[in-house]
Symmetry: C2
Subunit: 154 residues, 2 copies
DNA sequence: TGTTCATCATTAGGTAACCTAACATTTAGG
DNA sequence: CCTAAATGTTAGGTTACCTAATGATGAACA
């Protein structure tokens, strides 16, 4: 009985390790999937990610960086590019003069909408070959993946 | 009845579009998860991916590129780095003198094993907080994601 | 059998997105 | 006050991708 418990515990670890490996493998390949969604004259994935955070109002640079999972200078760099493209604006934060609030311009909002729509359409095309069962399996896993990602936000 | 069918079809498209958006969002965040697995003096993700393909024997440069989802020059670049690090070797292909077969050195095999083990351990740690149900949902989706990725291989 | 066209890999040169370290500015706490 | 912490920006570097051009070999065919 003790032997059984020990075996069982070990088997759980084994399973977890295997799941980890498979998940890593899936994510590795998915990088190329994401890359496939890029288009020539459009927003880059990094720029789109940055702009999407601004949809609900101004966001400080540090918070953008934290949400993007990058360092502050990397966020600044993206923001400068967006500003030069007329898609975002930097404004002084009224509450803290050290800080900067980044806000979306109308052109920025349009750019998010269209880039988002195009990328979703391409992805939907890719997913359209899945069976109903497969779609359900994928849909069921997305909240779990989201939870994993959220737990890493620190 | 016709109305019902039309509504139903449209709802399907809607659902697919929504699934596509959610999947994109999950993958976007997962980039940071993958980045989190990187370690200081270890193989980079690109290098590890490249080496992993060689585990079962010599592979040609073009095939490595195709499997990695990158162009041939990018693969060559990685291979040269691995060669300089003593982890892989380039040999002339006996069947086709234009081609090059890339093979793993013993050191390369060790490097794959240890990098792989470390990364899997970190990932397993992250996944260990999931409920059994969540793990099953994730495990069920991985083959689907694998299928999506495989369908993109061209 | 030679010429031509395709294929395989490398080299050269450029870009995008990240990083750390050093800085200026402003806030907050003894 | 005056020092310490926090916020962004600038400067300089790295990595991993890309396209275009090149050299070398193989394959097709007149």
């Amino acid at each position: 009985m003790l032997g059984y418990l020990m075996m069982n515990r070990k088997s759980d670890e084994e399973e977890l390790r295997e799941l980890a490996g498979d998940f890593r493998e899936a994510l590795r390949h998915s990088v190329y999937l994401v890359r496939r969604l890029d288009a020539e004259g459009e927003l880059s994935a990094a720029q789109l990610s940055t702009l999407k955070m601004l949809l609900d109002g101004g966001v400080r640079v540090g918070e953008i960086a934290r949400n993007l999972g990058v360092r502050v200078p990397s966020a600044t760099e993206q923001i400068i590019k967006l500003e030069r493209a007329g898609l975002a604006r930097r404004e002084p934060d009224p509450d803290d003069s050290r800080a900067v609030r980044v806000v979306l311009t109308p052109a920025g909002r349009d750019a998010v909408d269209s880039a988002n729509a195009r990328r979703n359409a391409v992805m939907a095309g890719i997913l359209s070959s899945l069976s109903e069962q497969d779609r359900q399996a994928l849909a069921a896993a997305l909240p779990v993946i989201g939870q994993i990602n959220a737990s890493l936000q620190d």
